[in-house]
């Protein structure tokens, strides 16, 4: 006879209502886990999307994601000639904000040379860039559709969306867009017409536009990457980072503060959950003091009483967790940030929830074990 199950069944509505609040709390814990996973995944995707073996950036910098890097456009030609480099491509990175249908639209634009490393890999719909100008491929989270035109830059050039990608976001959640390198350079260095006229009037030299943020190199499978990196590092005006170093920079340092914030929120939520579970278990035990006294009086051993409380605490955790998970999965598509709920994280939250329930139930167990069987003799409650 499972006393915990009978008690829950007897007070089913109260159990469901009480634990619905808990499920919302556990749902938030799961959301934060998903946001945390999404943060790391997005950061790594940003670096992995380039499919690079080596990143050649400005000397003494950790560019292009961790800090600014600017190198001459012809660096790609130099890198291509190094022994072991199979292919190389120039890339630029810039955040832009434009306005579409009266609403702001933020994007992280990557300029690349079509046919060279650094471009988009998997398209969800549409095609690659075929024209040299004014075409773009964007992540679908930007809310754009194929064929839609988007004004970009100070001159308001209209870019046509020709391809859509999925799950290509920056660590800050902005959708990624790809345009040709030439367009990207134009957007970076193009001045607004009044500013351009002023520059001409003061006879100032217009800024050189053939600048890039990095060169991405693919190394031949027959040559060790470290050997090529060593060769490139002999150029003192450049710094070479391996893909592993780039990923470490992104996942450990660039998003470190955000990761710590997420972790702190998660720890706080788990503590709050533990307190709430402990209070619920304690209250449920308080409600059963007379029943517990009666059980003790008729000879129930402590393990029966402890089993009753622990099973109820675990039932709460299981109910709260799975209801919370179901709510998160149901509302995941509408969440403003990408949630990455890998099985390991989901299982880890479940295990943490169960441990929290067990720890929280100790308060109820302490109360139950203190109940004097003689309380069963007192006047009816």
């Amino acid at each position: 006879m499972n006393l915990a199950y009978r008690d829950i069944k007897h007070n089913l509505l109260r159990f469901v209502l009480t634990n619905f609040g808990l499920s919302l709390l556990l749902g938030i814990v799961i959301v934060i886990t998903g946001v945390y996973g999404g943060l790391i995944d997005d950061a790594l995707r940003q670096a992995r999307a380039a499919n690079a073996d080596l990143w050649v950036v400005e000397a003494g910098t950790n560019g292009p994601f961790a800090e600014a890097s600017r190198i001459p456009g012809d660096t790609r030609e130099l890198v291509s000639r190094v022994y072991g480099v199979e292919r190389a491509g120039s890339v630029t990175y810039q955040s832009i904000q434009t306005e579409l249908n009266g609403k702001p639209l933020r994007m992280f634009l990557i300029g690349f040379e079509p046919g060279r490393p650094g471009g988009p890999r998997n398209l969800l719909a549409g095609r690659d860039l075929l024209r040299s100008h004014y075409e773009m491929i964007v992540d679908r989270s930007a809310g754009l559709t194929l064929g839609q035109e988007v004004p970009l830059g100070t001159h308001g050039h209209m870019f046509t969306v020709v391809g859509l990608m999925r799950d290509e976001l920056t660590a800050s959640g902005d959708p990624v867009g790809y345009i040709t390198l030439r367009d990207a350079q134009a957007l970076q260095f193009e001045l607004a017409p009044p500013a351009e006229r002023r520059e001409v009037a003061r006879a100032g030299a217009l800024q050189a536009t053939d600048q890039i943020n990095a060169v991405i190199a693919k190394v031949s499978p027959y040559v060790p990457i470290t050997e090529v990196a060593g060769a490139l590092s002999r150029w003192k005006h450049l710094t070479t980072l391996t893909q592993d170093q780039q990923e470490t920079l992104l996942s450990k340092f660039v998003i470190e503060k955000a990761r710590n914030q997420q972790r702190l929120i998660m720890v706080l939520l788990i503590i709050v959950s533990a307190v709430i579970i402990a209070l619920i278990v304690y209250t449920l035990t308080m409600d059963k003091v007379r029943s517990i006294a009666t059980l003790k009086f008729v000879g129930a051993p402590d393990r029966t009483i402890i089993g009753l409380i622990v099973q109820q605490a675990l039932s709460m955790g299981i109910f709260g967790y799975f209801t919370g998970l179901a709510l998160v999965l149901a509302f995941k598509p509408y969440f403003p940030r990408r949630l990455v709920l890998d099985p390991e994280s989901v299982a880890a939250v479940f295990v943490i929830t169960m441990v929290v329930c067990l720890v929280a139930s100790t308060l109820g167990i302490r109360l139950a074990l203190k109940v004097d069987p003689a309380e069963a003799l007192s006047a009816a409650g």
């Binding site: 006879m1 006393l3 009978r6 008690d7 069944k9 007897h10 007070n11 007379r290 029943s291 009666t294 059980l295 003790k296 009086f297 008729v298 000879g299 129930a300 051993p301 029966t304 069987p373 003689a374 069963a376 003799l377 006047a379 009816a380």
Partner: protein, 245 residues
């Protein structure tokens, strides 16, 4: 007492219980001696504060006496200290308790409230349920076996509580004011039931009561005053024939 030819199921010798120490000491029980034999229903009476419930709790192994000796079903369980380490198991095996109020577990139906004791004693589900239904039928409340405690009348609930006390076939049944919440007619029915159980199960039943209307249902009445046993009245001859079920 004239029961020396049979072994007492409950024997209390020189039992005292004090609360507090020194000048603040209160003598709740002083040198109590009593014996209850199989098939007997005895009453424990006295004014409030006389020590009735304290004595019942000591016999039920709920409250530790200060000194004395308690023998239950031939086994010495207290001799100036508890001689048994697992008193709950002792209660489960030897003692059935009927509370003033039924104290049924609100989340179990009638039959499960009885069966729970058998589960605790290690009975299988089918055997426990069968015995529970059998007892409820015996107490004429079998038709309410699926009713939750909140759906039972006071008399029905008290009979389910009696069934629970009998579930494990205890040799000792202790009842604390079992008729207090009942009207006089139902009180007599419950007392008759206890008399029948005492005979059928060869059990010793001790009933704490204030109810003068049910005095004729007792074989003996022990009267307590200020923690002392003042009279040991034999009101009617003990029932010597007992059917052990």
């Amino acid at each position: 007492m004239a029961e020396t030819h049979r072994q007492a199921v409950v024997r209390v010798e020189g039992l005292s219980k004090y609360f507090g120490q020194g000048s603040a000491r209160v003598n709740a029980l002083l040198d109590i001696n009593l014996e209850v034999y199989p098939g007997q229903v005895v009453g424990l009476m006295g004014p409030s504060g006389s020590g009735k419930t304290t004595l019942l709790n000591c016999i039920a192994c709920i409250l530790e006496p200060s000194r004395g000796r308690i023998t239950l079903d031939g086994e010495v369980v207290y001799d100036d200290r508890w001689l048994k380490s697992d008193l709950r198991r002792l209660r489960l095996d030897k003692i059935g308790f009927i509370f003033q109020y039924p104290n049924l577990l609100p989340f179990l139906d009638g039959s499960d409230n009885v069966a729970v004791v058998l589960h605790l004693a290690g009975f299988g589900a089918a055997a426990a349920h069968g015995r529970a239904v059998e007892l409820l039928d015996y107490l004429e409340v079998g038709h309410r076996k699926h009713a939750m405690p909140a759906q039972l009348s006071g008399g029905e609930a008290q009979r389910v509580a009696i069934a629970r006390a009998l579930a494990n076939r205890p040799r000792i049944i202790l009842a604390d004011e079992p008729t207090a919440p009942l009207d006089s007619q139902r009180a007599r029915i419950v007392m008759d039931m206890l008399r029948r159980i005492a005979v059928d199960q060869s059990a010793a039943i001790i009933v704490v009561t204030h109810d003068e209307m049910i005095l004729d249902r007792f074989d003996h009445i022990f009267r307590l005053r200020d923690g002392r046993l003042v009279t040991d009245t034999v009101d009617r001859p003990p029932i010597l024939e007992a059917n052990v079920s």
